[in-house]
Amino acid sequence: MIFMTKNNNQKIAEIKAIHNEYVKEINKLREEQNKIVAEFIKKLEEKKMDKIRSLIKGI
């Protein structure tokens, strides 16, 4: 019975470690996702600037 308890404690610790590792990995993926979107926004802004420049040139 003592053995079982110890074993279960270990399991809890292991689950905790897996969970923490997951949070770490998922945050990396979140960052990568955000980077993709940030680059997209940057390009949209550049496109807008292009349009403004063309307009100014037209005037």
Partner: protein, 694 residues
């Protein structure tokens, strides 16, 4: 089916605060570690952790989607046109890149939950069966409780609004959009026959003395659907044959003693009709969507056919624990029902909710427990429902869960089902030439809409196609997109070529044919489909910074292979990637090869891509060459080296106009670069005609 379509489809609520998430884990674990902990407590802790992980995963996936939507909105606020925003998104592959990330998030979440389950389980192996039965009992009780005590949840929004807010809905709220009654009504309305076939009367009550009559009635029903154009003769015959196999398996299972002897003919008749109806309906619905095939081709030609081959191989290698006819029946039942969730109203548009189709499919099946309960026992029904829910998961273990593993593997192998679509494209060299032109147009940065229309016209004109196949081909043509024609054509990378069980490991042979090889070379597919197959088992080559060729191993016979470790370092699957079989060369290959060569020669004789690129190179790379005089020189040289067979008078005028544009933007670098790009995309009249560009 489903992994490809699960992009953006995970629901999400939950905290954004990652630190809070970590603290919660710490706190829970600290509370538990201090006390004497029972197995039940470990399981409860694991369950909580898994729930947390589900939330965090859903939240992360949803963030990406929302951020993207916000970015598109921001683009609109910047007064950019929708086409401009789409173009930028398309050029940057934003959708595809985000989808990859979301798939990685899904896989990480799934794998982590599996790891936690494994740690929490740690039961003696012999307890497997006991656990199954325990779970079933608990499941049965909770279902009962649900129906007796839980108040009915009504849909929170309209379907359209629900799709927009899908990620904010709880699972209970989502399930409110899946009404078995409504699906049954819609199916019945869609399949309504003007002339219902008359059912032959049974000789007595028992199934065993009436199985032939049931098969006759199934035939009549299918013929009625064919007669009223609800299904093509070809697909109708496949449904009839598959249902007949099902009925015959019931007889076989009775002989084996795995099914009761006193089954009633009328009950089996109802089930057979249900299968026919669902197959005809799913096939019809599938063609309405561009999501890929969930009809006869996927379910009968693909999943069931492959699953049965796997059962044969498993049984050969495991004579002492063979899967019997009842198992085969259950596998067929799962495949007939596993994608029914796609027919639920909210899944008919968009892709926000389609990822949850498997939960809907399970709910729909479980709503028919009374009918299917006349054939299967309670445990079997539970197993069917559960496996419908997990049909697209990667977890594979032929030692402990051969049944579930076969269902999942056959569904995951959808990528390699020897599809008729490429076969038909391949049979008509003209179509292959259009695909080749699509690739040329893509490389020249041109629109492929005209060529897609050409392909569709060819399909429309093609004789000898049944209407379902024609629709499928039109869908396939429509789904080819500029940035990734290979996405749709990926299925051409190889075909399934048999299975073999080695101990507890299933060997899956995937063979390249000369057709696959040619198309791979043409579209530079570069093992893309194999990479995708590995991806569905959680092997992310791009994340690992390695290529397919680097990742695969080669055995002593020179066969390239990949083994997937599933648990304790023991692989459950081995994929052999076999080269083409030189003894089985396709006769059509020579003709297609010739057509490819002709198209390439024709293009080489007219296209001015190399000259244009070379003319632009200097101006693009060396700023000091950007002078009015140099531009005139370049224009002169370009036009001088191209004779009238390549450039018409109109082409020459256009080139001069573009050169003027370059000269006029000499003082504005961004504008100049834009003009260079514009010139890079310039097509002569002949090129335009060849690539069907307006």
């Amino acid at each position: 089916m489903g992994q490809l379509e699960n992009k953006f489809a995970q629901a999400a609520t939950g905290t954004k605060n990652e630190e809070k998430e970590e603290l919660a884990v710490e706190k829970k674990s600290a509370e538990n570690v201090e006390a004497n902990i029972s197995h039940e407590q470990v399981e409860a802790f694991a369950k909580e952790s898994e729930d947390d992980i589900t939330k965090v995963g859903e939240n992360a996936a949803s963030e990406g989607k929302h951020e993207f939507e916000n970015a598109v909105q921001a683009g609109t606020k910047l007064e950019l046109k929708k086409e401009e925003i789409d173009q930028i998104a398309s050029e940057m592959n934003v959708g595809e890149n985000l989808q990859t990330k979301q798939e990685e998030i899904d896989a990480l979440t799934r794998e982590t939950k599996e790891k936690i389950s494994k740690v929490a389980e740690m039961q003696p192996e012999s307890a497997q069966e006991v656990r199954v039965s325990e779970n079933i009992e608990v499941g049965a009780e909770s279902t009962q409780e649900k129906t007796q005590e839980s108040p009915e949840v009504h849909p929170k929004y309209s379907e359209e609004e629900a799709r927009k807010n899908w990620k904010t809905l709880s699972m209970e709220e989502k399930m409110a959009y899946c009404s078995p009654e409504i699906v049954a009504q819609e199916m019945s309305a869609d399949l309504n026959l003007k002339n219902n076939p008359e059912a032959k009367q049974f000789k007595g009550e028992s199934f065993s003395e009436n199985s032939e009559i049931i098969n006759d009635n199934v035939r009549n029903l299918v013929e009625a659907y064919i007669g009223e154009a609800k299904i093509s003769p070809e697909y109708g015959e496949k449904i009839r044959k598959s249902t007949e196999d099902y009925v015959n398996l019931i007889s076989q299972a009775q002989k084996e003693g795995s099914l009761a002897e006193n089954l009633k003919a009328s009950d089996i008749q109802k089930i057979s009709e249900d299968i026919v109806n669902k197959m005809v309906y799913q096939n019809r619905e599938s063609f309405k969507r561009g999501l890929g095939d969930h009809g006869v081709r996927h379910i009968i030609d693909g999943n069931i056919a492959e699953a049965m081959k796997m059962v044969d191989e498993f049984n050969k290698a495991n004579p002492e624990k063979q899967l019997n006819s009842l198992d085969r029946l259950k596998i067929m039942t799962i495949h007939f029902n596993h994608d029914m969730g796609y027919t639920v109203g909210v899944n008919r548009k968009g892709f926000e909710s389609t990822g949850d189709h498997k939960y809907f499919s399970q709910k729909l099946f479980e709503s028919q427990e009374e009918m299917y309960g006349k054939l299967f026992g309670k445990k079997d029904l539970e197993q069917i429902g559960e496996t419908i829910k997990t049909h697209d998961e990667a977890q594979t273990d032929f030692e402990k869960q051969p049944f579930e593993s076969i269902v999942r593997l056959s569904d995951n192998m959808g990528l390699f089902h020897d599809s008729k679509l490429p076969e038909i494209f391949y049979s008509v060299p003209e179509n292959m030439a259009v695909l080749q032109k699509i690739d040329l147009a893509r490389k020249a940065g041109q629109s492929i809409d005209g060529l897609k229309n050409e392909l569709k016209n060819n399909v429309m004109k093609q004789e000898g196609l049944d209407e379902d196949t024609r629709k499928a081909l039109l869908n396939a043509a429509e789904e080819i997109n500029k940035m990734a024609p290979d996405f749709n054509l990926g299925m051409l990378a190889g075909k399934l070529d048999g299975y073999e069980m080695q101990g507890s490991k299933m060997v899956v042979n995937i063979r390249e044919s000369d057709m696959h090889k040619q198309i791979q070379e043409l579209f530079e597919l570069n093992q893309k489909q194999f990479v995708k197959a590995l991806d569905s088992y959680g092997i992310k080559l791009d994340k690992m910074g390695t290529s397919f060729d680097q990742y695969v191993k080669t055995d002593e016979n020179g066969t390239k292979y990949v083994e997937l470790p599933v648990s304790e370092g023991k692989p459950a699957l081995r994929f052999n990637f076999l080269p083409e079989n030189l003894n089985e060369q396709d006769n059509r290959n020579a003709e297609v090869k010739k057509k490819f060569a002709e198209t390439a020669t024709e293009w080489a004789g007219m296209n001015i891509r190399a000259e244009v690129n070379s003319a632009m190179k200097e101006l693009k790379e060396l700023k000091e060459t950007r002078t009015s005089e140099n531009i005139d020189n370049i224009s002169f040289e370009l036009q001088a080296q191209l004779d009238d067979s390549k450039l018409s008078t109109k082409d020459r005028e256009q080139i001069s106009g573009l050169m003027d544009g370059l000269k006029n933007s000499l003082n504005n670098e961004e504008e100049f670069i834009k003009k260079i790009d514009q010139f890079g995309k310039f097509l002569t009249e002949r090129e335009k005609e060849f690539l069907a560009v307006n």
